[in-house]
Amino acid sequence: MNAVQRFIRSRVLLLTAAILIAAMCLSVLVQSQSQAALNRTVDENSRGLYDVLVQAKAPSGALMQPEIANGTGGISFEQLEAIRKLSGTSVAAPISLVSRVTQNLESPRLEAMDFLGYNAGLAGTASSDQAAGATPPDKWPAAESVLADETRKYRLTASAVSSDGVSEQTLFKSTAEGTLGKAKLVEERAAGGSSIRIAAPEDETGIKFPAPAGGSEHNLFNVSVSLPLAPEVTESVVAVDPAAERALLGSAGDFLSPLEKAPPADARNAGAVGRYFEGLFTNGISLEELEEGPDFLGVKLKYWAPLMTQYQQAKRTGQLTADSQAIPLIVRSGTSLDLKYNVEIEEIDAAGKVVKDVGTVSRSLDKDYLPFVSKDPFVLSWPGSTDHSSLLGSSGNFNPGLYTPATWSTDFAAAPKYTDDETAANGAIEKTAVPGEWVTVNRLPEKSSNGMPVDQTQREPVDERSYRENLETGEKSAAPLAMVYGTFDPSAVAAAAGDVNKLPLGGYDPAPFTLVKDAAGTEVPATELEPSLSASGLASQSAGAITDYYGLAAARGYTGNASVIDAIRVRAKAPGSWKQAQPDVEKLAGEIRGMGLEATVVAGSAREDASIFVPGYSKDDAGKESALGTVQQSWVRQNAADAVTGSLSGTNVTLLFLTLCGGALLTGASTVSYIRKRRSEAGTLRAMGWTQGRIRRWVLEEFGVGAVLLAVAGTVLSLVSWSLSTALVSAAVLVLYAAAAFFAAQQLRHRDVIDQEPQHDERLIPVDSPLTFANRQLSTNKFNTLSLAVAVGVFGAAVGGLIALLIDIPRAAGASALSGLAAASVALPSILLALAGVAVGLVLTLVTGRFELIAKRQYLGILEAMGWNPDMLRQVRLFENALVGTVALPLGVLGALGIGLLLAPYAAIWAGVAGLVAVLCWIPIATKVVQ
């Protein structure tokens, strides 16, 4: 029988070689496939749109925060051009906050139907400019009204409620009382003819809410009651260079194309634009043209109404100057603002007692809200009312149907101050946000639009941890006028660019918050907070509008170019992954730093969600503060790619190392098993006259067959994977196997055993029960017992490692978007590797268990022959395994804890518990198996 035949006959050696080859194959799988997938995933997701973020430095050297209130972003257009001219620059895209647009619902109205019917004089006047679609006079319905002929007294209670997604808060509640009645047409003789007017009943007082709300007035179709102001709505406006932005965003930036064709700043004089449209309407415009939107200098002005409204308002108030600029805007679509405006209508008697509950009407600023644009005026209808105003058709007059548009504000958000807290296992840093100073919100303007002081008692101002500051009214410059060119879909941008609204520009651009814990720290269903209007909501929104750069200086109050750029995002020309491009990116960043600017390399960074506890958010009248709770905010972590790659690579290498350690133990156990089987053969050969050297060669030849197999496998795998780590692992396995072979050969050497005839040790526990019998057996065969205990411990530790990994992968996946992608790419091979570790542990228990199997069967047979019943024999097996398990338990638990600490520190306890359970489960299973 030659060496190959003997090798095949020796199942233990065959098994060992097979397991070691499997371990080597796994190393290839992990090192080449898994590592490659990991690197690819990280590479693809860690070199974002841009590589370097450039920001300005204050004279003190500190980073300059965007602050439009003082009018400077810190980076000039000259610096932008200088960056663009650097040889390593591919794209340099500037970005700057233009403003926050404050949208006051200044003229909410309640309209009660009081239709007076057709009147040639009134209808003719009202429809002098009417467009097609007006109803012919003979088809007008009869007069109707929800009001009585005689006046009645009503009480109107207006209130606004906002929601932050969790709870509602009443922003204000204001009540007004007065009498209303059905109006009538009064024809009066006048010089040269007669005039027709709409007259209210003589004893009607009307209903007047405190200023700045107006009173009530009758018209042809209804009684219109002016309601109190709703709280203001704000949107941030970000200016970008459309061409550069499209270069960054690719097709997702197509929405910016209208801006690329926008007229230059000197051709976008607000007065000129306004006059053009005025002329357009004066000369007449078709309905189709209105719906499509007319061209202005080659640009479709789809949303032209707000501009004209602003133009007219600015002109009326004398704020329009020769230098006023029109700034084209693109606003994000689908902005959802949850504001519910309610009016409760009650009929009351002279004493104020409710006679009849007319009803409550509501309107919500919920869907399809766009800054500057509203499809309808904010009108609430008296119960039972019908709107007959459409009888006049589309009037073509842009004023009806539009409320007073946005106030152009330069109040900017003060960034919350973030401080670093604990660093998590994966390198993520918890952050705490400390809001800025208290500001008072929900306060009415000091003056109404006509300059009269506003009654401040009608609303209760609330102190808010808001980003709004310096809330003032009355003397704002209205120089820049917003022209809304179109909308963009933020989700499409996010898909292509990781959300342009979440650019790491510091704190002024807070992303939408998700409330995950309430102020008491109790977890609540994740709720995305609505953009805020109020003291209860969070005044934080993504940038809502993107404009171009022309007119930016004007928007910030400069007459010429100024350092108005807050940040520049620079993409390097260097191709390839972030790792490959890193030297060139660093060089480019260095050159930018040479210009005196702050340049942060963001290649290799990634976005992730950070949990931030906002400790104080609102304060009630009594001065009691309440926290907002824990919110999750998208955060950019520098060098995330290195951290993620390092962490997951470390996990893989650890798993590989542990599996090989298991392989080493298995080799040792197999060797012992082999020696035990062959010792008698060696003795026989020695008796036949074989020399010690020949017996050694006889053994080594068998091991040599396995070694050749391993060497071939290792070489092939190393060449296929072309990985140094695979070659090293293969070499290590071969060395391990060779060491085992020499150890085995050494153990077969003949030894002269001197029988000392030792006496029985009386200190041993007497055998008087199955337990003491099991104990004696195990203590007699210490080596076998310990081998089996080590094997069971390894099995327990491997199970613990698997559990740690299973816990770690979802956690790693949830840590950030990048780590999620990366973890997903290596999850399967990692789990396979961990399962391989468990399999090695299991095989180890089988191999070491066989050490004693024959002897065990023998003495169980003896006991049976002596009349030990089956239950007692089962007890012997159970106690033996329990004792082995007791020895294995510390090893299994500590091993699992150790592996858990290596793989996932926070899951170490679970790993330890899993190791404990695995060992405890092994006891009855082994008892059942060894019959």
Partner: protein, 251 residues
């Protein structure tokens, strides 16, 4: 053994030719309750399982009635089924067919636990080579059968007496590895007698022993019969065959 044939040659010691064995094919309850061991129409076959190997019939239609104080020897060449008959008689394995009676009670009607309990009280089994438990002294080995009944301490003196009886009074603290083959065999016999056994089943007690050691074992076995203990022994030792009361020779 492909075509085994049992040839029974029986004799009663000192008297006669009358065969000891009688067939009792239909016996469920032995007529003689005093008969400690009775084998009726025992057939033992091996193989023929799922592996597809052909079944090998080792013993066919074997009958044996063993009386108290009697030593019966089952002789025959290696592989003739001697050990199989002994393990069936000791209730360690079940015959392919036939019945085994212990003091008149059929093993068929007993469960595993009852068989174990009855075996402990009735039968002392001595394996070939005197299988002892490693790691336990000779005394502890002898006391092992007393463990299930919790009588280790009570039987300690008796165990020592038995070891004295078999000539190992001075070796009782030695472990099996430190004893010779004959000594291990004697320890095993002492162990088989510790619970007041009424039937001693001994497999090849003198195999691989020198003549002197073998004679000593034979002497011990013979002495036990004088105490009323029935001895069923498998051996091809001529001296043992000669001294046994009855003999079954398997061909």
């Amino acid at each position: 053994m492909t075509n085994p044939t049992n040839v029974q040659r029986s004799r009663r010691s000192g008297s006669g030719e009358a065969p000891l064995q009688t067939r009792a094919n239909t016996i469920v309850k032995s007529a003689d309750h005093a008969t400690p061991l009775e084998l009726s129409d025992i057939t033992i076959r091996y193989g023929g399982g799922k592996g597809g190997a052909e079944a090998v019939s080792v013993v066919e239609g074997f009958d044996l009635t063993l009386h108290a104080g009697e030593m019966h020897c089952v002789a025959g060449r290696s592989g003739s089924g001697k050990t199989s008959i002994l393990t069936v008689g000791a209730g360690l394995t079940l015959p392919t067919s036939g019945r085994v009676f212990w003091e008149g009670d059929s093993l068929e009607s007993m469960g595993d636990d009852e068989i174990a309990d009855r075996r402990r009280a009735l039968i002392g089994y001595v394996d070939q080579g005197g299988a002892l438990i490693d790691g336990m002294s000779a005394l502890e080995n002898v006391l092992l059968p007393a463990v299930p009944d919790g009588e280790v301490d009570q039987r300690r003196d008796m165990a020592k007496d038995l070891l004295d009886l078999v000539g190992l009074g001075r070796r009782m603290r030695h472990r099996p590895a430190q004893l010779s083959g004959g000594e291990r065999q004697r320890v095993a016999i002492a162990r088989a007698l510790i619970l007041g056994t009424r039937v001693l089943v001994v497999d090849e007690p003198t195999a691989s022993l020198d003549r002197a050691s073998a004679n000593r074992i034979i002497s011990i076995l013979k002495d036990t019969t004088s105490d009323g203990i029935a001895v069923l022994v498998a051996s091809h030792d001529h001296e043992l065959v000669r001294l046994s009361d009855t003999l079954t020779e398997l061909i």
